[in-house]
Assembly symmetry: C2
Homo-oligomer: 561 residues x 2
C-alpha cells in the first residue's frame, strides 16, 4: 500500500485535473487536459516517440507477470506492411488470476481518491508517450498517423479520464462515515455510526478490438480500475502493442505507488486461440468490456452470466437527407465522414437516405441522382490528392474489410467507385477510397444490404419515397439493427421535430446539419456520449453513471455509538 506521503503527493498532483474533469462531465462543455496537436509534445517529441516505437520492434516485450509460461505469442503485421516482430508472454490464467486478486484488499482500502490519483498518473504517463503509442496504433489499426496519434492518444486518454471522473463521482456519492440519530419521542434517540466502503466486484476483463484498441479500451479499463477491480487485458491478436504498452505503464505506476502491479495484466494470444471465451466464463471474472462483432458480443452476454457485460457491437448508422441551406458544407462534411479511416469506424455513416424526388437546398432543388453524384464528387475531390488521401484514409485493417469493399460493387449500381491509392512510404499498405452504391428502399432485394452492417468504406445511397419514409426506415433500422450515430440534414422545423422524436423513441443520438469541422463519426469526451446503450448497437454508453455504478458495490458496517 502507498505510504501516506506518496499517496497525498499523488492526490495533490492530480487534484486540479480531477476537479476539472468532474466539472466537465457536469457542464458537458469543451475541455481536455491532453493536447491533441502532435507538436504540443516537445520539439523532439515526434522523433523520440518514433524511436521509442521502433525500439519495441523485433524483440520480446517484457512484463514480468506471474504465470508466464515461457512461451511467446505475437505475429502482429502492420496494415502498412511491416511485420512488428514483437512477442508477448503467454500466461497461465490459473496462476495469473489469483495473483491479480491478491492485490484487491490494499487497492480497495486505498479508497476512491487515491485510486483516481493513481489512474490519473497512469494516464499522464501514457499521455507523455502519445507519439510512441500513435505509431503503435497506426501500425496495428491502419489508421493514418495523425488520427492514430489523436484518436488513440489524447482522445483515448480523455475517455479514460472521463471514466475515472465518473467512477470517482459515483463512489463518493455516499460518505465514508455517517452518524444516524433517530428521535424516540421522550426517550433517548437511537444513535448509530455507519461506515460505507466501495468494494470492487472482482476481476475485470477487457477484450480489446482491432481498430480502436485504446479509444474503445480505456473507458472500461479505467472505470474498472478506479472502482477497485483488477483488470486483465486480452488484446486483439492484431492490435496487442498499444495495450501492452498501456499495461506496462499501469504496472509501473501501481508499483511505484506501493500497490501490486498485478492489478493490471496482459493476456496475449496467437490469432484464433479463442482466449477471450475461455477467460470470459471463469468465475473470477465479474466484469467484461468488449467492442467488436455482434456475434461475439451476444455470445458474451449469453454465456458470461457471472459477469456484468458491457458490449459495443455492430450497428447500421444512417443519415437522413431532407433539405439544407448549406449544400456545399453538407457535401464536404459528409465526404470527410465517409472517408475518415476508410469508414472503419463504428460511427461511420452507412445508409444515406435520400428522397427519390430530391431535396431542396440553397443551391436549388437537387434530384436524388444529383445528390448522389455530388456526394460522390465531393469524396473524389477530397481524396483526389494521394497525399491527402493517405492522410485521411489510412490503410485497410484486414482482408475481411477488403472483401466487403469488393463485394459491395455487386449490391447495386455503383455511384462512387473505389480506387486504389499508392502509399509511397509504405508500398505494401492496402489503401482504398470508399465505394458508394445506389439502393432503393422499395426494392425487396436491396433490404438485406441496407439492413446489415457493412463495416468498412462502403455506403449506400438509399432512395426513399419521402422524408417521412426515411424517418420510418430510420426508426426500423435503429430499433432492429442498432446505431452508434444518426445524422440528418433539414431546414424544416417539422422534420427536425420528427427526427428528434424518432431518435428519442428508438434511443439513438442525433447530429443535425453538420456542415463544418464537427463530424457525425466523432464524439468528444466529457461532452458527447458515445452510443446510448439503448439500442442493439451497444448496451452501454461511454461514459455515464450506468457505465461505472455497477462496477463496485457498497458495503455498510453499522454500530451503536
Amino acid at each position: 500500500m502507498a505510504t501516506g506521503n506518496v499517496a497525498s503527493e499523488l492526490i495533490e498532483r492530480h487534484r486540479a485535473t480531477l476537479d476539472k474533469a468532474l466539472e466537465a462531465i457536469r457542464t458537458r462543455e469543451y475541455w481536455s487536459p491532453f493536447p491533441e496537436h502532435p507538436k504540443a509534445y516537445g520539439e523532439t517529441g515526434p522523433a523520440d516517440g518514433k524511436a521509442a516505437f521502433e525500439s519495441n520492434l523485433n524483440r520480446d516485450f517484457e512484463l514480468a507477470q506471474p504465470g508466464e509460461t515461457g512461451e511467446r505469442v505475437g505475429g502482429e503485421v502492420s496494415p502498412y506492411g511491416i511485420e512488428l516482430g514483437v512477442t508477448y508472454p503467454r500466461v497461465d490464467a490459473d496462476v495469473l488470476i489469483p495473483a491479480m486478486r491478491a492485490g484487491i484488499p490494499a487497492w480497495r482500502d486505498a479508497g476512491p481518491g487515491l485510486r483516481a490519483a493513481v489512474s490519473l498518473e497512469i494516464l499522464a504517463r501514457i499521455n507523455a508517450r502519445s507519439h510512441e503509442l500513435g505509431h503503435a496504433i497506426m501500425h496495428t489499426t491502419g489508421q493514418a498517423f495523425t488520427m492514430a496519434f489523436q484518436a488513440g492518444g489524447p482522445h483515448a486518454q480523455d475517455r479514460g479520464l472521463e471514466a475515472v471522473a465518473y467512477a470517482y463521482a459515483e463512489q463518493t456519492r455516499t460518505p465514508v462515515e455517517a452518524p444516524w440519530s433517530k428521535p424516540q419521542g421522550k426517550r433517548e434517540p437511537l444513535e448509530m455510526r455507519k461506515a460505507f466502503t466501495a468494494v470492487p466486484r472482482g476481476l475485470s476483463l477487457l477484450v480489446g478490438c482491432n481498430t480502436f484498441p485504446t479509444w474503445n479500451g480505456y473507458p472500461g479499463l479505467f472505470a474498472s480500475l478506479a472502482t477497485g477491480n483488477p483488470v486483465l487485458v486480452k488484446p486483439h491478436p492484431r492490435a496487442v502493442l498499444p495495450l501492452a504498452l498501456t499495461v506496462r505503464i499501469a504496472r509501473e505506476v501501481l508499483a511505484e505507488a506501493g500497490f501490486d502491479p498485478n492489478l493490471v495484466a496482459l493476456a496475449a494470444e496467437a490469432p484464433g486461440e479463442g482466449l477471450a471465451k475461455t477467460l470470459a466464463t471463469r468465475p473470477e471474472v465479474r466484469i467484461i468490456d468488449y467492442t467488436g462483432s455482434t456475434a461475439f458480443g451476444d455470445w458474451l452476454e449469453t454465456n458470461a452470466r457471472q459477469a456484468q457485460v458491457y458490449t459495443e457491437k455492430a450497428g447500421v448508422n444512417t443519415v437522413v437527407f431532407d433539405s439544407t441551406d448549406d449544400y456545399k458544407g453538407m457535401l464536404g462534411n459528409m465526404a470527410f465522414s465517409l472517408s475518415l479511416y476508410s469508414g472503419q469506424m463504428c460511427t461511420t455513416p452507412q445508409n444515406l437516405l435520400i428522397p427519390r424526388d430530391g431535396i431542396d437546398t440553397d443551391a436549388g432543388h437537387k434530384s436524388y441522382d444529383e445528390v448522389v453524384a455530388d456526394l460522390s464528387t465531393a469524396v473524389e475531390k477530397l481524396l483526389g490528392d494521394d497525399v491527402r488521401a493517405n492522410a485521411l484514409l489510412g490503410a485497410i485493417v484486414n482482408p475481411d474489410v477488403l472483401a466487403r469493399l469488393d463485394a459491395a460493387k455487386g449490391l447495386g449500381e455503383v455511384a462512387l467507385a473505389s480506387r486504389e491509392v499508392k502509399n509511397p512510404e509504405f508500398p505494401e499498405a492496402t489503401v482504398r477510397t470508399p465505394v458508394m452504391v445506389k439502393l432503393d428502399a422499395s426494392a425487396p432485394d436491396d433490404r438485406a444490404a441496407y439492413l446489415s452492417e457493412c463495416f468498412g468504406p462502403v455506403s449506400f445511397a438509399v432512395a426513399v419515397d419521402s422524408t417521412a419514409a426515411a424517418l420510418e426506415l430510420l426508426r426500423r433500422t435503429v430499433t432492429e439493427k442498432g446505431a452508434m450515430t444518426v445524422g440528418a440534414y433539414t431546414t424544416s422545423p417539422e422534420v427536425e421535430a420528427g427526427l428528434e422524436e424518432v431518435c428519442l423513441d428508438a434511443c439513438a443520438s442525433l447530429s443535425l446539419n453538420l456542415t463544418g469541422g464537427v463530424y457525425v463519426n466523432q464524439t468528444a469526451a466529457f461532452s458527447d456520449f458515445h452510443g446510448t446503450g439503448g439500442n442493439p448497437a451497444a448496451n452501454a454508453a461511454l461514459c455515464d453513471g450506468a457505465f461505472v455504478a455497477n462496477r463496485f458495490r457498497t458495503v455498510e458496517v453499522r454500530r451503536h455509538v
Copy 2:
C-alpha cells in the same frame, strides 16, 4: 400532458421534500417525511382507515384499465383467516401493453422534475391512506398490524421516495442543454449546442412478493416511473390488494396531472397461472423488478434477456457470536430479531455461529449450551405474553412456512421449541413462536441444513470450533449462498477487523454489537442500503445509483450554433 400551472404547482408542492430526500441520500443521516406512528394520522385516521379497508372487501376492485377481459380473478385469504372476497380484472396484455406504451412520449417529455413531483404526489396520497394500506398488508402478508402499518406504510413510502430521489439525481447529472466551444488556434472556434434527454428503456414489470408487497415493490415501481417508464404491476396472487390500491392511486394522480393513467397498471392473476413468466419474456418489457425465490429469480435472469433484471432472492443470514460487554442487551436484541414477523423476513438471522467453547461476556464466560439456552429463554420471555406475542409474530403467511417450521424439529436437537399462540381476535390465524435447532459445523450431516435458506421462524445455533472458524463459515456462506444481513457480537478489535474484512471481501453488510432498539433485520431508507447487490442474495441494492442509472438512457441531439 400537464398544463404549465398544474406542473409548476406540483413541482412547488413537493420541492422541499425532494430537496430533503436528495440531501438525506448524500448525508445518510436519519430523515423521513412520513410519520411512522399510527397516531400521527389524525384522531379518526385509524378508524377511517379500517373502514376504508373493509369497504374494499367482498366486491370488485375497479381500475378501468384497457384490455380488461370481463373475467375477474381473486381469492386472497388473509393469514388471519378472513376471505377478502376481492376480485380484480383479468387483462389482455396484448391490449393493455400497447395502451401503456402510448403514454411514454408525454411522460418522457415531462422531464425528471415533473416526473419526480408526480411520483411524490402519488406517495403523499399513499401516505394519507397508510391505515387502509396497513390493514390490506396485514391481511395479505400476515404481519401484525403495527408492523404492517409501519413497514408497509411509511417505511415503504420512504423507500419509494428514496428511489425517486436517486432517479432525479441521476437524470439531472447531465444538463438539459449545453454549449460546446472548441478552440481552433487562430481560426474561429467550433461551436455546438447540445441537448440531452433522459429517455425511458420501455415497459417496466414489477413482480410483487407475498410478504412485503409495498416495501419490496415501491423501490422498483418508483425508480422506473420516475425515469420515464410505464410500470406494469404483477402482484403475488396472495397479496394483490396493497398493490392494487397503490396502482389505483397512481392512476388517479397521473390522470389529474394530465398524463395517461395507463402509465401504471395492474395485471392480477389466479394462483398458479404463471403470468409473471409470460409477461417477463415479452419484448416490450425492458425492466423487471422481482423479490422472491432463487429459482424464479434465476429463471428471470436467464430467460428475460431483453430486460434489465433486478432480483432479490434467498440468502442465508448469519450472526457471529464472539464476545459481548452487554450480554443481556445482546440476548434481548437477538430475541426480537428472531421473533419479528415470525422470521418471515429476508433479513432475519438464520445461522447463529457460536464457538463450542463458549464466549466471554460481561456476565462471565458462557458456554455454547448456556448461550443457546439463554437465547431460547430470551425468546420465550419476549413471547411469553400472548398479546405481545401476537403483536410481534403476526401470522404464518402460507403453509410452506409452516411445513418448514415443522420439519426443522427433525434437523437436530431442538433448543427452543415452537409453540402455538392463540389469537383471540382472529381464531383462525396460524401463529407460531420460533424454533431454534442445535447444529454442529463439524458434522457433515448438518451442512445441508445450515447452508440452505430455511425461510420462516427457524434458526440454527451452529457450534463452531472458534471465532476464526465462524469467520470462515461466514465467508463461505455469503459467497456461496448469499446474505441480506450479517450480524456480529465482539469486544475484540481484532475480531471486529476480521469480520469487516470478510464482509468487505464477500460483499455483505454488517451490523455490529446491536443491543438496543436497532435490529439486524431492519434497514432505514436514506441511510441503510438494503442488500449489497454483490452476493448471491440480490443483484441490486435498495437504493443506489446502480439501481436507477440503467432504467433510462440519455439521447443527445447536437447542432451547430
